[in-house]
């Protein structure tokens, strides 16, 4: 019994040691208003922030994580059991510098964008509250056309946060813009045993911001463009239906998180 107890103790010590190198997953619930003119058009999505050994992190919708992990597993047929992600990006942040890579997956087309963002945070002293049992402090910044309020905790000294946001002296647990069109709030922090990145970055083509915006503009005009895949021929009627459905949907999609191309 004693031996058992010592073993258990040793085991915990080992775990503690490993802890310093651990990966974490922070889950955020994102509520966003898809149509800026309709305050009832609130949708939600669960987002994962996977932090790898305090070196880099991946931020993406849960459904993209599931899709990517299923695609690399032995049961690709279970793809049909997950829903379509509402966002198609994965954001990679390296902690040592300001470089942020965004991976966009349009199934037939996969793009990588690279940018350098130096967030100018203003610390608002004196405002605190509690999120997820952590004491959080207030800070504000502006990013690509929106003014944001962030709540971070210095109890977790990982200078990361949802979406592209980072650079506060602690983890951001809640973040929203002044119109509350995008509102991220953490609801779970867990240790992560599985540390596979699941993103095959070689599959993504590095393109410029301008090219990417051109692409998005074209897809808006002709949504069926993303179905252009060699070897797959879709009949005209199917393409038409896709175009009509997506144009209809796009009418109500007028509120992207990045309102401006540049951060002014």
């Amino acid at each position: 019994m004693k031996q058992y107890f010592i073993n258990l103790l040793l085991f915990f010590l080992l775990i503690q040691f490993a802890y310093s190198q651990t990966n974490y997953r922070v889950k955020y619930e994102l509520n966003f208003q898809i149509d800026s003119t309709n305050s009832k058009s609130i949708q939600n999505e669960i987002m994962y922030l996977d932090i790898k050994k305090s070196k880099y992190s991946y931020f993406r919708p849960e459904s993209i994580f599931l899709k990517d992990s299923i695609l690399q597993s032995n049961n690709p047929q279970s793809l049909f059991s997950i829903n379509k992600p509402k966002f198609n990006y994965t954001i990679e942040k390296v902690f040592n510098n300001n470089n942020i890579s965004s991976y966009y997956d349009y199934t037939a087309f996969k793009f990588k964008l690279s940018e350098s963002i130096d967030f100018k945070w203003e610390i608002i002293n004196g405002s605190t509250k509690t999120v997820l049992d952590y004491k959080v402090h207030k800070a504000t910044t502006s990013f690509k056309g929106r003014n944001y309020t962030a709540w971070y905790t210095n109890e977790i000294s990982i200078q990361d946060g949802p979406y592209k946001f980072k650079g506060l002296p602690g983890l951001i647990l809640e973040l929203y813009d002044e119109k509350n069109h995008y509102h991220f709030k953490a609801f779970s922090i867990q240790e992560l045993s599985d540390n596979k990145p699941y993103i095959v970055s070689e599959e993504y083509k590095l393109i410029s911001n301008k090219d990417f915006n051109d692409f998005k503009e074209r897809v808006k005009q002709k949504p069926s463009l993303v179905l252009q895949n060699p070897g797959i021929q879709i009949p005209k009627e199917g393409m038409d239906k896709y175009d009509r459905n997506h144009r209809e949907r796009n009418k109500h999609k007028n509120n992207p998180i990045e309102l401006k191309v540049n951060n002014e």
């Binding site: 279970s78 997820l132 602690g170 779970s188």
Partner: protein, 878 residues
């Protein structure tokens, strides 16, 4: 204390800007390694109020400027995995280096259990009464009122914004993806409760392995049974046309039924609905080779190569029923039953030109064919879906009581043909998934029995020389009976390892067949046994297939390496003919893909494969296949080896919407037999096989490009195909080189003029040419133009105008055909009723003439089309 703090704050604030100090330093571990990504904050003493902060860089450096009048400040260093340092210092520019002590950082793991979306494994019950309103009619209407549930216009149900993955009625999944049929027809008054099953994984054995974040809906019924359905009724002229589709359904707690009765004479071949197959099913069917195959035939009329709704003269009745019954211990029994009855008529003539090495023979036939189809299909499926295993067993029966009659006017003679082409099949297919260690093993087992009793009677008797010593006779009849037993069993799994994924599969196939055939004549003069076959055939194959996939960087590789052992044994005892064949084959296939740059991708593949003959390619005595074709194939079993290569280039630039591809493929087939086709004076042919190695080469080139021009909302597509086939054939005892060439050019313009109007224009030009011994025969050309306009004046209205122009070059003249159709559809949304008006073949084009090339003949056919017709259809709920 507090007062002092406030005072300090005040002084700090008012004096701000008077002094700026910079604190910098390096953070290192006890082993003198830099500590990066540490939060370094400077606060007022003993507070959380941050004056400024920095994050240490890759070398562990930090530098912070502060403006504060305080004499003393506090420096805090926090980093994951290190002990937090808190140190007070004098407010003056200085360098402060620190050594951080490693320490396990204990992070509180927190999960909010009550997060609305992360709840797991829960079942939520909604009482239907609480959510129904007066105007609601169906369960779909009530679902819309329930929180968290959305019903889209196409019937798709979303829960928390995500589509549901299953729609159960009393826990049973009868309709699978077609749940809208039940949802929009089931009156809500029949339903007591709607249950939401969150995080539902439909295949239970995968439940622990594959996470699902989708929900399923289960409908609880009030009564022990509920009856509902849908109907579509249409009628038109001329002649009197009908098109009816009735779909009643019944649901209860233990059993459910969905049936359908469809009948029409409008040329809509609803029989195709019976063939709902997945790709996997199709591949299996190809291996089994047990689809209905007709050995004998009446002389066919070649059907036109466009939409069968223009030419199919049918009178079809189709009854299908799906029945599901829930058994004990998680077993489900499902019965699918269908009966099809069809009467088709074909009218027209053909003009066939046979080439021989030194002559051509012309044959003109006027044909009237009547085809009677009677098919019964049943499928009994037992399924068990539990946490431990997945099992699906299907017992299937197919019966074809088909017959055909053909009348031919040949010059001034009349030929009558009567065919009975029956076929019966009984089969059992078992599929099971079970875990073995960490793997999930898939076991497949198939057993099938089939029977092909067929007969053909021709009046007057044909092949007088062969069958009746040169004298005319009244009637000839061919009888045939083929019995087959087939089984295929395999075991396989998939394993991933680094960049590789490996799927081994092991299996055994066995086939036993018996062929009995006999030619009978009205004179009974030639009763020697040269017109009888009694062939026993057995075939077995043991196979091991290793499929390897490799993915890295810009490379994709797939290699399959099947090892097969084949054994064939054929014996005709009365004829004392026998042959044996044992072959060990290795049939590798390799494909490689490489991404050259952002837009270019190249790919190539190479494969080696073997094919062996089937029982209808070896029989020692004559069989009369149709009134002018009698053949025997007294030859070794055909053996073919295919070597194929292909290469492709792809360009995809989505920024300027330009797409381009080029594919080349080449196949060389080495065949051990050459077929000798003898064309007799009366146009009859005789086929014999001669053992002589020969090669067939085929080349294929295709290219396609498309460009979207956004300024005019137009998509432009151009494509071209070229194919060449080179082979040898014996024509009237002479070995002849034959080359067939085909060209095809296609251009297409799609324009979205506005949101509610789009146009499509397509043109195709085809050219075929046939060369015998270096001599060119006549070219065959076809021009095809299509112009469609789709018009959506309102959400619930659609007008379509379709026109087609086809110009064919015939043997002696050119023929033009013009077709036009109009469709108008109106949806009465409130009552959910669709109305549709159709006017087909407005120009009343009566017949269609084409020419086609055969290996050794040109065939010109004239097919009588459906006349102009007007149809009106209504679709509503029962």
């Amino acid at each position: 204390m507090k007062q002092i703090l406030i005072l300090g704050f005040f002084i700090g604030f008012s004096l701000c800007g008077y002094s700026q100090t910079t604190i910098s330093g390096i953070l290192k571990t006890e082993h003198a390694k830099p500590v990066s990504s540490a939060s370094v904050t400077i606060t007022d003493l003993n507070t959380d109020d941050i004056l400024n902060y920095a994050i240490s860089d890759g070398d562990g450096r930090f530098s912070i400027s502060i403006k504060s009048s305080s004499k003393e400040l506090q420096l805090n260093i926090r980093s994951m995995g290190y002990k937090t340092i808190v140190k007070s210092f004098d407010n003056k520019t200085q360098t402060l280096d620190f050594v951080l002590q490693e320490e396990a950082t204990e992070l509180k793991e927190v999960v909010i259990k009550s997060s609305p979306i992360s709840r797991k494994g829960d079942t939520i019950n909604y009482s239907v009464n609480a959510f129904s309103k007066q105007e609601d009619r169906t369960i779909a209407d009530v679902l819309k009122n329930m929180p968290g549930i959305e019903v889209l216009s196409d019937g798709k149900i979303l829960y928390q914004g995500k589509p549901i993955n299953k729609y159960y009625i009393e826990g049973l999944d009868l309709l699978e993806g077609k749940y809208n049929l039940a949802n929009s027809n089931l009156p809500y008054k029949e339903v007591t409760k709607v249950q939401i099953l969150e995080n539902h994984q439909p295949i239970k054995i995968l439940d622990s392995l594959v996470y699902s974040d989708q929900a399923a809906i289960n409908i609880k019924l009030k009564n022990s049974y509920t009856f509902t359905g849908q109907a579509k009724i249409g009628s038109g002229l001329s002649p009197l046309l009908w098109d009816v589709n009735l779909t009643p359904m019944l649901f209860s707690k233990k059993q459910q039924m969905l049936s359908s009765y469809q009948t029409n004479n409008t040329g809509n071949n609803v029989a195709s609905q019976l063939k709902v197959l997945t790709l996997e099913d199709l591949l299996e069917q190809f291996e089994r080779n047990d689809e209905k195959q007709d050995w004998l035939a009446i002389q066919q009329l070649k059907v036109p190569n466009f939409s069968e709704k223009r030419w199919l003269d049918n009178n079809i009745h189709l009854i299908t029923t799906n029945y599901l019954y829930k058994l004990k211990n998680d077993y489900e029994l499902r019965l699918n039953l269908s009966y099809l009855n069809d009467y088709q008529q074909q009218n027209g003539f053909t003009n066939t030109q046979f080439f021989t090495a030194n002559d051509t023979i012309n044959l003109f036939e006027n044909k009237y064919n009547q085809l009677y189809t009677n098919i019964l299909e049943t499928n009994l499926t037992l399924q068990k879906n539990t946490n431990k295993n997945f099992l699906k067993n299907s017992l299937q029966f197919q019966g074809f009581w088909d017959s055909q009659q053909g009348a031919i006017q040949l010059n001034n003679d009349n030929v009558k043909q009567r065919l009975s082409n029956q076929y019966f099949k009984l089969s059992n297919n078992l599929k099971t998934l079970f875990p073995l260690g960490k793997q999930i093993i898939t076991l497949n087992s198939y057993i099938g029995l089939n029977k092909t009793p067929q007969s053909l009677t021709v009046n007057p008797g044909q092949f007088n020389d062969l069958l009746n010593n040169g004298n005319a006779f009244d009637e000839v009849a061919q009888e045939i009976a083929l019995n087959t037993f087939y089984t295929n069993n395999s075991l396989g799994f998939t394993k991933g390892w680094k960049q590789f994924s490996i799927s081994p599969k092991f299996g055994i196939q066995f086939e036993k067949q018996n062929l009995d055939s006999k030619i009978l004549t009205s004179t009974d003069a030639t009763q020697t046994n040269i017109f009888e076959n009694n062939l026993d055939w057995s075939r077995s194959k043991i196979y091991f297939n290793l499929q390897t996939q490799y993915k890295k960087d810009k490379w994709r590789m797939e290699l399959t390496m099947p090892l097969n052992f084949h054994n064939y044994h054929l014996e005709d005892k009365p004829l004392q003919k026998e042959q044996n064949l044992n072959r060990f084959t290795f049939e590798p296939r390799l494909s490689l893909n490489y991404d050259l740059s952002n837009f270019w991708r190249v790919g190539s593949s190479a494969s080696l494969s073997n094919q062996f003959g089937t029982i209808n390619q070896v029989y020692y005595n004559y069989i009369l296949q149709n009134y002018r074709n009698i053949q025997r194939i007294d030859a070794p079993l055909p053996e073919m080896q295919n070597i194929s290569y292909s290469a492709s280039i792809n360009y995809r630039n989505p920024f300027n919407a330009l797409f381009f591809s080029l594919v080349y493929s080449n196949t060389t087939t080495t065949n051990n037999l050459l077929y000798n086709t003898q064309i007799l004076d009366n146009g009859a042919t005789e086929l014999q096989a001669i053992a002589q190695d020969n090669k067939r080469q085929s080349h294929n080139f295709s290219t396609r490009s498309s460009k979207y021009i956004s300024s005019i909302n137009t998509n432009l597509t151009l494509s071209a195909n070229y194919s060449l086939q080179d082979f040898q054939q014996i024509l009237n005892a002479v070995i002849t080189d034959i080359a067939n060439q085909n060209w095809r050019f296609n251009g297409k313009i799609d324009t979205d003029i506005t949101d509610w109007l789009n146009m499509e224009l397509e043109s195709i030009f085809q050219l075929s040419n046939n060369k015998i011994q270096g001599q060119n025969n006549q070219n065959i050309t076809q021009k095809f133009h299509k112009f469609n306009v789709n018009f959506y004046p309102k959400d619930n209205q659609y007008i379509g105008l379709k026109t087609e122009y086809i110009k064919n070059s015939l043997l002696s003249e050119n023929k033009e055909n013009v077709f036009a159709d109009i469709v108008y559809r109106y949806t009465w949304k409130k009552k959910n009723i669709d109305f549709e008006w159709q006017w087909n073949n407005i120009f009343n084009t009566q017949n269609y003439r084409t020419v086609s090339i055969d290996n050794f003949s040109y065939l010109e056919s004239n097919f009588n089309l459906r006349p102009t017709q007007v149809l009106f259809k209504v679709r509503f709920s029962l």
